[in-house]
């Protein structure tokens, strides 16, 4: 059977499964809709959290990005997993004890202020919409390549599926579909990795495999370093970025992760504080399976790619090459007209003379890093069903995250905005109705951005992490660990943090003050402390912390009942289910 038939079968089966689960677990009350009734088993919740967190970016893009960045890819690996440690130790148990539905709930109550609540709602909506648009795009890419429907139709099909189970089932439906999606995506990620690991180094465990040697007895990493140097790149295991930038980006991603509303909200769904701790542990364990495999895939794919294409005649390349050329994600331009593919680093001045002496006229191959995971099984010539499985896995990753984000969007609107501020007299049933409406509208908007992606999606995703780190993270941490932190301190910290971050992004990412996008590259040596916009969230976050502390010490202490509330969330005893009021 061909790849396409296999893809239809496997994707069809998984979609049928998700829909069946959604029908079985639809929500009847707001509590079920927002937090799945608050009675989810912690291991199950850990699995759902893992699927929630691992998006199309983790599944489709990350290994590809790492394979192009080498050592520098560590910022994503350590940043996105290290953030979980912060989440588990500093946030999850206390927010669970606090026992409300949403992050703006916490900010609003802890800082006894609707202004703070509104600021938090706006941040939550910005972060979530940015993310969800990216997920829909991922769905579109998978559909267009493997089922050969246009990207737009792919997005519409994805929207319909998410609409069905997010709007119908709320958190309850999402939780159980996410469990199924975790199983699909991790299986789909591991099978090709194991196959390729056996193929290349004869070791079934990819995590060990990429540190082993192949038949020629040379360690794979050594071989790859060698290939890199030969083509004018830096050694794979050393990387290019400055140390301070690596530190800043890693820290920004860590704190941004811990501040992401759709991940935090998952810890409201377990029955007890001790379950929240356990659940966070299992979530990271399930995530780590993929995150430790990704760098192995990166090395396998990079080595395979270079040895398959470098200095090979274009006419004799395998079929996958032309398949991906059709999507435009792979481009070959025979600059020196010799019919061979020269793939090398033509931006390295030290290598220019070597290239010239070989008669090379510039790099001839442009590879979109997003295709590495999807093309990997084809490059390694794995059976068709494995390729189809990867397509289903990519869809599972994108859909599960999209659903989690849509839930944050709908609760932010129905609960934090309507119920808490505009229409406090709503009944539970009305609130549920509005939550569903908000989810439906959210799906529509997300789909629109999926079909018409703004050119700055990637830039805004980085902005979202910086925003979460520079706004939510200090406000929540101080809210738990500093009893004297008050409304004025928190609000001024959040506002200054966000503004500073936004300013830096506008200046150095969009180049608006210096003549637009084209000027951005030239501004690199003006970066403050040599820190890139991606890493600047760390600086903005520290500024937030400092301002919050200073302002709070010079203004009125929070009221007694708030200080009691803080003491109460530090003690696990007495946590009930998540409650509305």
């Amino acid at each position: 059977m061909g790849v396409q038939t296999w893809t239809f079968i496997i994707v069809g089966i998984t979609f049928a499964l998700y829909i069946a689960i959604a029908i079985w677990s639809r929500a009847g009350s707001t509590k079920e809709f927002y937090v799945a009734g608050g009675g989810v088993n912690p291991i199950i919740n850990g699995m759902a959290t893992a699927a929630d967190w691992m998006s199309a970016a983790s599944f489709i893009s990350m290994a590809g990005i790492i394979s192009f960045m080498g050592y520098d890819g560590a910022v994503y690996l350590m940043g996105w997993t290290g953030g979980y440690v912060l989440l588990a130790l500093l946030l999850a148990p206390y927010l669970r004890k606090f026992g409300k539905f949403t992050v703006p709930d916490f900010i609003g109550d802890r800082y006894y202020s609707d202004t703070a609540r509104t600021v938090a709602v706006i941040c939550a909506l910005m972060v979530s919409f940015t993310y969800v648009a990216g997920q829909m795009r991922g769905v579109g890419v998978v559909f267009s390549r493997f089922l050969e429907v246009p990207i737009n139709q792919g997005v519409l099909i994805g929207m319909a599926i998410v609409f069905f189970y997010a709007v119908l089932g709320g958190m309850k439906g999402i939780t159980y579909t996410q469990v199924a999606q975790y199983c699909v995506l991790i299986f789909a990620f591991m099978v090709p990795a194991i196959f390729i690991s056996i193929q290349m180094v004869n070791n079934p465990i990819p995590q060990l495999g990429f540190g082993s040697s192949g038949e020629d007895g040379v360690y794979l990493l050594e071989k790859l370093n060698h290939l890199h140097v030969e083509l004018g790149f830096n050694e794979y295991t050393n990387g290019n970025k400055s140390m301070i930038d690596i530190i800043a980006i890693t820290a920004a991603l860590m704190c941004g992760t811990a501040g992401l509303p759709h991940v935090i909200v998952r810890f409201f769904t377990v029955p007890k504080v001790r379950d929240a701790r356990k659940s966070a542990g299992y979530a990271l364990l399930f995530i780590a399976i993929l995150y430790t495999t990704a760098p192995a895939i990166a090395v396998f794919a990079r080595t395979n790619l270079i040895t398959t294409v470098s200095e090979k005649p274009y006419a004799e390349l395998p079929e996958w090459f032309s398949n991906w050329e059709k999507t435009g994600l792979l481009q070959y331009n025979d600059k020196n007209g010799d019919g061979l593919i020269q793939y090398y680093n033509d931006t390295n001045p030290a290598y220019a003379t070597t290239a010239q002496s070989k008669g090379w006229n510039g790099n001839e191959l442009v590879i979109d890093r997003d295709i590495m995971v999807l093309a990997n099984p084809e490059i390694a010539q794995l059976p068709n069903w494995v390729i189809a499985l990867v397509a289903a896995g990519g869809l599972a990753a994108a859909l599960s995250t999209a659903a989690g984000l849509l839930l944050v969007i709908s609760t932010s609107i129905s609960h934090d905005l309507l119920k808490k501020q505009l229409m406090p007299d709503m009944t539970d049933k009305q609130e549920l109705f509005w939550a569903r409406i908000a989810a439906a509208v959210g799906v529509g908007i997300a789909g629109y951005f999926g079909i018409n992606p703004p050119g700055f999606v990637a830039a805004v995703v980085a902005l979202a992490f910086g925003l979460a780190a520079s706004s939510f993270f200090p406000a929540i941490i101080l809210g738990i660990f500093d009893k004297k932190m008050n409304m004025r301190g928190a609000i001024s910290g959040m506002v200054v943090g966000i503004l500073l971050m936004t300013f830096y992004m506008i200046k150095f990412k969009f180049g608006l003050f210096d003549g637009g996008k084209s000027a951005v590259a030239g501004l690199q040596d003006q970066w403050w402390l040599g820190i890139s916009p991606e890493g600047f969230g760390t600086v903005a976050m520290m500024v937030n912390f400092i301002i919050s502390m200073i302002v709070s010490r010079f203004t009125q202490d929070p009221p007694d009942e708030i200080q009691e509330l803080v003491e109460d969330i530090r003690i696990p005893r007495g946590s009930g289910g998540a409650v509305a009021h």
């Binding site: 997993t81 440690v85 148990p93 050393n238 966070a280 003690i571």
Partner: protein
């Protein structure tokens, strides 16, 4: 805050300090600051600094959360603040 709860909270902060020091050490110190010198040491085919950045820190992170879980559950019982 009654004294027992205060003692519980201080103990909690102490645990956090220990665990977060390890967290910082494996990722920022071994994986980034000392990565270059550690790369001269090879474990199998892995340069050690590279291994910590791409693999080792993640394993340690998982272990840290489970240690935290055990410590805290025991502490809850010891100070009788566990959930019934």
């Amino acid at each position: 805050m009654i004294p027992k709860h205060k003692a519980y909270w201080n103990k909690n902060l102490q645990y956090l300090a220990i665990l977060l020091s390890v967290w910082f050490f494996v990722s920022f110190v071994l994986g980034i600051l000392l990565a270059a010198p550690l790369n001269t040491i090879k474990i199998g085919g892995f340069p050690l600094g590279f291994w910590f950045a791409h693999q080792g820190s993640i394993y340690v992170f998982v272990i840290l959360i489970f240690i935290y879980m055990r410590w805290m559950n025991r502490l809850d019982e010891e100070y009788e603040v566990d959930e019934k």
